[in-house]
Amino acid sequence: MASPADPATLPCSPADEVGGLAYFPRMLAKIRLHAQAKLWEDLHANLGKGMDLWCCGFLHLSYEDLKARVLEGGSDDEILQWCERHGRPLNDTDKQVWRQFTAKIGQEDRASRLLTKWKTESGLADRDDITTMGHYIDVAEGRKA
């Protein structure tokens, strides 16, 4: 496995939530860290792609618009409220569906092959217990064993 990333360069867990919306805090943290030139370089290539793109699609916003708003400043809660005004409002079911969706990404879906590739690249190919992208990210970034 590659050497651990400097914790100061890492966003929070993909399972973290703001206003009941999973992954959202991680996406914002990546934008802020990147703007400060502190983001772990392994996360640069997928910035605005992958789960960022899916989250923005679900919010009915463009990543560029969200990024501009994040860089204006404000808390995660304030930015989520802005998203709901400029994208679309989310009800509790939306958040529940999104939470389950993100928690299971990598389980027999279009991301499964990528998960296998990433596990191999990280020396985690033998970890059969890692079946989701969220779990992989938490292990790869040192939040879980």
Binding site: W54, G57, F58, R88, T93, Q96, W98, Q100
Partner: protein, 145 residues
Amino acid sequence: MPAPIDPSTLPCSPLNEACGLVYFPRMVAKIRLHAQGKLWEDLIANLGTANDATCCGFLHVSHADLTARVLEGGSDEEIFQWCQEHGRVLNDMDKHVWNNFYKKMAWNDELTPRLASRKAESGLAHRDDIITMPHYIDVDEGRLP
């Protein structure tokens, strides 16, 4: 195992799609069969609750309003369009999120105990291959072995 179900009392598979959204045709079919007094009695208790409530929540329409619209007549696609006009517009990402959420329902989540309970009630407790609710429904209703 209980006696076979009369196929004329069954809606379609939960994995059937209308306008790219899984489960929607089943929810609509259940409403039509119930109005005709034909719906399989095991499905009556959950009419408008459970998966129906989650799907309606995601569409931002009430099950009562949807029922009224379905009983006015029209195709699944026409009713889906009505949902888009009276609830909220779904983009391709919304459908992707919903479809993956639904297809993996009960797989390592809060519905896993409920799935185990239903499998036991149907004499399927030994079927370790059934790990999602839609798979269980298709087996229970005889569409899959």
